[in-house]
């Protein structure tokens, strides 16, 4: 008997907790409202199931508790009931899956007008690269990394010369401009995650991964690494500043390009950079445009 009351109270308490809880989705700052919608649909269907099933259980425990003279009903199976329950469950499942898959098909299809931005991760810091005026990121690989070429840009690739390099942890993005975040790791697995953008993807050394989004709210947002990458994992932070196009353009113009770095580097550094390109005749495929 107390347990029946406890179950009912826990259901009530859980609902109240949900409504009163100060911890819920951060305000959405990107186009991925469809992910939030899929979450809400799932939540409603699951909430109904949670409440109905548990209140049924609480009621059944109370109603069919043992009392002297009371005996259980004998019913080995009820095939038609089970078939109906299976059917309606499948409907509920489909109702959750459909919006989820629709949102996913949006997630995997990058719009043609998306700008390319690369985020590179290493233990335990972020750096970023823009393709520059030619609109194409130069190929890059771990083999090309030298102290002066920390991004590992292939020095023989002409597309790489105008790439704009951001070595601080602060990325700027233009408001309302769709962007394909191209992700590379120099060492281990990482994950680029900004809660307000909802989208995320792992950075995998050896390949290039991606996700896309459109930032829809100006502001400053925190980047968190979301794949355990060692003892500094919790401190691998960055910032994304979303600002209007003009402010973004101004900021970008202030940043340094790979070509400029090469121009400023000492002859010894240039030799080191070029030597790294000697081993492979063909440029490695390091970016996906």
């Amino acid at each position: 008997m107390p347990v029946a009351i406890a179950i009912a109270l826990l259901v009530l308490g859980s609902v109240i907790f949900h409504l009163a809880s100060p911890w819920w989705l951060t305000p959405l700052a990107s186009n991925w409202g469809s992910l939030d919608d899929a979450l809400h649909i799932t939540l409603w269907i699951c909430a109904v199931a949670f409440v109905v099933l548990n209140l049924f259980m609480a009621w059944a425990i109370w109603r069919y508790r043992h009392r002297p003279g009371h005996r259980a009903h004998y019913e080995p199976e009820n095939a038609s009931l089970e078939k109906r329950l299976t059917f309606w469950t499948a409907i509920g499942i489909a109702g959750m899956l459909a919006p989820g898959l629709i949102a996913w098909s949006q997630y995997v299809n990058v719009p043609k007008e998306a700008a390319i931005v690369e985020a590179t991760g290493q233990q335990w810091t972020w750096s970023f690269r823009f393709p520059g005026p030619d609109g194409v990121l130069g190929t890059a690989a771990v083999e090309h990394i030298t102290p002066d070429n920390s991004f590992g840009i292939n020095p023989l690739d002409p597309f790489g010369r105008d790439d704009i390099l951001i070595e601080t942890n602060e990325l700027h993005l233009a408001l309302n401009q769709p962007v394909k975040m191209v992700l590379r790791s120099k060492d281990v697995l990482h994950d680029f995650y900004v809660p307000q953008f909802r989208a995320k993807m792992d950075l995998v050394p050896g390949i290039v991964t991606y996700f896309w989004m459109t930032p829809t709210k100006a502001g400053t947002y925190e980047i968190l690494c979301a794949e355990l990458c060692g003892v500094g994992h919790h401190e691998m932070r960055g910032t994304v500043v979303v600002e209007p196009q003009e402010a973004f353009d101004a900021w970008l113009a202030d940043q340094i390009s790979f070509g400029q770095i090469m121009a400023q580097a000492s002859p010894a550094s240039i030799s080191a950079i070029l030597a790294s390109a000697d081993s492979c005749a063909t440029p490695t495929r390091g970016s996906l445009n």
């Binding site: 951060t26 992910l35 098909s105 771990v142 995320k200 050896g206």
Partner: protein, 572 residues
Amino acid sequence: MATTIADDLRPLHHPKTWIGKYVWSQDHKVIAIQYGVTAIGIGLVALVLSALMRLQLGFPGMFPSIQPENYLQYVSMHGMIMVVYLLTALLLGGFGNYLIPLMVGARDMVFPFVNMLSYWVYLLSVLVLVASFFVPGGPTGAGWTLYPPQAITEGTPGQEWGILLMLASLAIFIIAFTMGGLNYVTTVLQARTKGMTLMRMPCSVWGIFVASIMGLLAFPALFVAAVMMMLDHVAGTSFFMPALLSMGQPLDHEGGSPILFQHLFWFFGHPEVYIVALPAFGIVSDLISVHARKNIFGYRMMVWAIVIIGALSFVVWAHHMYVSGMNPYFGFFFATSTLIIAIPTAIKVYNWLLTLWRGDIHLRVPMLFAIAFLFTFIHGGLTGLFLGNVSVDVPLSDTFFVVGHFHMVMGVSPILVIFGAIYHWYPKITGRMWNNVLAQAHFWITFLGVYAIYLPMHYLGVLGVPRRYYALGETAFIPQSAHVANEVITVAALIVFVAQGLFFYNMIWSLFRGPKAGPNPWGAASLEWQTPDTPPKHGNWGAKLPTVYRWAYDYSVPGHARDFIAQDEAPS
């Protein structure tokens, strides 16, 4: 003509010495206790580790001896111990060993020597794992998932020695588990007594049987992955290691794929969680049915659901990899298969509830734990739907939502079933009854406490709080209230932790001072309660094996005065 245990023609060898009876024992019941005690022992170590983790999360900065390395080591060892060395070993090695021969009417497992060996190899794997605490660098801190490259590169604790001992320990465990699994599967197939058809077996046997088959097919994936990672680490191969830097210096690897490891690991890892869940499902069916004096509703569907869930669990693994960088189009397939597996699981939930409905419910402690299982499993199963749905998973992956979900379905529900099962079968195993007041106190504190621990975590996850973070630090989107939540969760965890003392005290005290229990205090119909001796002696059934005349659920049959009919009672 067969000449094995199964046919009762070759007599069991009865040991004469104390060592032969209780140490190098080939009696499945002794082996079960050995597994149980070892698993619970190492589980308590993992519980202490979780307390340390919660101290750091609730009160960051207050414990200078818990540095990021230590924290990650606690996280990783806690996870691996709990999933593999406690839950799998206890449910299959412990309950599987004890219950299967008794429930199918056999004298022992079909390969008793190999069975004994499997325990000692398991113990060896535990010792190797514990040894990793004492090597230079300490145990691995790569997370229980052990992802390369970080598991074996600098920057992760234990990347030199700890990870090696972990991988070795896993390989040894898998050998032990294969020996045990062969026993459980072959015994169910070959040693059922006369009249015990497959569909007369109790759900507990079905759950453990299917889980054992799954284990035999899933653990090899972990074995292969572990061997390959060991080779990458010590022999310089590049199975999983691409060209990469470590702390700015290039390593001598090239061309390997970290995602290959993830595929192998989760090909094991997903069935693994069902290897833990299915025995719990089977056992809870029996707990509910006995204490509600009612047959498990829809027995056939329950059996089929166990089999279907077992089979489907092999095609859902990449729902752990939606944001891993694998081909994104796989997401469509795995989201669909994952949500489909929810359907037989939901049927099981409905059938458990329908067993209670119109039953004659005795709210004894085993039934209380079964009810708590239902409540928490409904919650945990439902949150799984969020994570299984690929796009909904994207913001939630690697947050505390995942931590809340998997604790609910792995750490709470099966543990509640284990407690219920131990209380339920205690009188059969020991011949004594436990103290009801202590048991009730243990139940209430545990049930309410674990819900208080894990419910808030889901909300922190939706907010975006990441997992495996040593400290949240100054993070703008995380309000102060979230830090308070962490404190509350920690306090609840410590209370639940301490309350387990009630359980251990009860179990041990009752062993010596508990009142003697009859052979069948709950009036259960299944075969294990019908042994001639309580506790059952070596050989279980006395001179002659029982004959089974009916299924395991003849409760409250109309026309019978008593509200149960034992499986070995002939029809009149």
